[in-house]
Amino acid sequence: MKILTPMRVLSSLSALGAILLGALVVGLTAGPSGLGVGEIFSVLGDRDAVGPAADIVLRVRLPRVLLGALVGACLAVSGVLFQAMLRNPLADPYVLGVSGGAALGGILVLSLGSAVGLGYEAVPPAAFAGCLLTTAILYAIAGANARASTTSLLLTGVVFNAFASAAIVFLASMAGLTESASIFLWLIGSLSSIRVEVSGWVAAFLVLGLGSTIPLARSLNLSALGGESAEQLGVDIDRQRRIVLIASSLMVGAAVSVAGLIGFVGLMIPHLLRLIFGPDHRLLIPASALGGAAFLVICDAIARTILDGRELPVGAITALAGGPLFLWLLRRYHQRVLS
């Protein structure tokens, strides 16, 4: 295992930053309407441009690409954090039921909202409210019993997710045809129905999440040894757990409420980066933010262009594109270790 030096952190993050920049350029230039690269950049230089090209680049693609990057970053970072806190490689951002709560909130509005005069705009706030409520429940469980094991936290999440999916199935079977279609698409996850306004919120939660958890990176490294050993080495496990729980939940809630349940990013991007950069969270947390962002932007570019004007939910692409990539990397890593 190579030692983590500031130089290595810097070079790794610069490389990922360059990849993210490339992904953003790809995201801005890819689309069904066949705009030329020159036209795209001339429009980008002029904030007040009008016309179809300006509408497409500045008001459709740009907000979507930015939001894709933010959502990807939120999901990947919370994936790393949950995997570290729960010491479970199968943990993903959705494992603690926060996503279930957000989905339930969003789908309540999708299926019943039109009856009380709530449009699609009300879905993200409702989803976020669902996320906050779930976080509060989880926090009450973890907080009331500071010694609560990770197992009981995990089980609470599993039970809550099961409850939420049952409620969603119930709502979906009561809903009409168009509502069912919306619910289905929302459950797969998509970046198509975005509003520029929400990007700021997601960015705020991402900054908050990164800012509060990067200082914990060293203690997260130690907790890989197990709760008791980490405590003997001076890690305040309760405090760490509370911060990680709240920060990750807020990031997941923000991501899910604007983009639905996009799978794979939060589970696999952390593993993928761990294979490449090693398990040190001081590098892994910021690397996941950059890697998750780049990955989701590329996947969304594929989702927007593959069917020529038709939209494909990005959630369908993430696993399709990411799965084989991940298996290939895993195989290569094992071959390297064995030789």
């Binding site: 689309g31 069904p32 309407s33 066949g34 705009l35 030329g36 036209e39 009008v50 016309g51 179809p52 090209a53 300006a54 509408d55 497409i56 008001r59 459709v60 693609r61 039109s114 005069g117 709530l118 449009g119 699609y120 705009e121 079977s173 009409g176 045809l177 168009t178 069912s180 279609a181 919306s182 698409l185 998509s190 198509s192 129905s193 927007r304 004007g309 038709r310 939209e311």
Partner: protein, 331 residues
Amino acid sequence: MKFRGSAVPPPAPHRLQRSPWRSGVGRNINCPMNRSTRRLLEIALLAACWAGVSAGSDPAVSSAPATRNLRVVSMNPSLTRMLIALDAQHVLVGVDEYSADHEPAVAALPRVGGLFNPSLEAVVALEPDLVVVVPSVQQRDFRTRLRELGVEVIELASVTLDQILESMQTLGDRIGRSEAARERVAAIQSTWIDVAREASLRPRRSAVLVLQRDPLYLVGGGSYLSAMLDAAGLDNAAVEYSEAYPRVSLEWLIAAGPQLIIDSSDDPVPAIEHWSRWTSIPAVAEGRVVAVPQGLVTLPGPYLDRSLRTMVAAIRSVDQDSGASQGAESH
């Protein structure tokens, strides 16, 4: 705009195989004929096609009276509406949830589930002679089971205009209401031809019919609604999608640049307000965004003539509004 042309590629070969009068295929053929002459020829062709359809129905059943003893279960609101329109609701002994919720005439009948959750037991308990359904994938097993149990099942498609008219005639023939069905079909056809003839005197516009805004669903080339747009003098900008109701990206819509947006989504935000952000779409810039009630489009039923008239009236209303502010339209 350079890319606008590229967003609407030349028609795929399979589109040429559809009925010649639909979607104005003739316009895509490069021929020196005058536009309105060609339009009139298309209308004449349409009339001729339909003359053949009406003459082809079986006269043997048409004289039979509406069978009192027949017990029918309808699994689809458009079929329920057809039965009511043919004055045959007395044969109904059960309907699907959507029919019961939206058709007061059958609200009191037993309900037998919906598209996704039809109840085999509830249908069988009603001892029907006939169950009428649409050929949906969701009810495939349900139909098979019913047939295994010896119940007659008729599948009546209602996606294209031809299918709807044919379904109505088939349904009328089966329940002994051939004459009523023929009259209804003829009424729709004559309205269609009248509207198309009136529209041929005006400049054609490109248009989209929005079914849902978020995610964005439009009417594609495969739906009766595309034929409705065509008759009303509009070129469906989404005709390149052969399916009935494609989900498209907003970017595609902006690039396609339709001159008219007909919005039939049931979103509480008014259509004009919703679309006002996209000023580069000619329809928005020229004030040609019109909302039509959702029931007009979601139920392909027996009163397509009225639906067509309603839609034409809505289109004319924005034409006048924008005409007043924009002056004469150059096409």
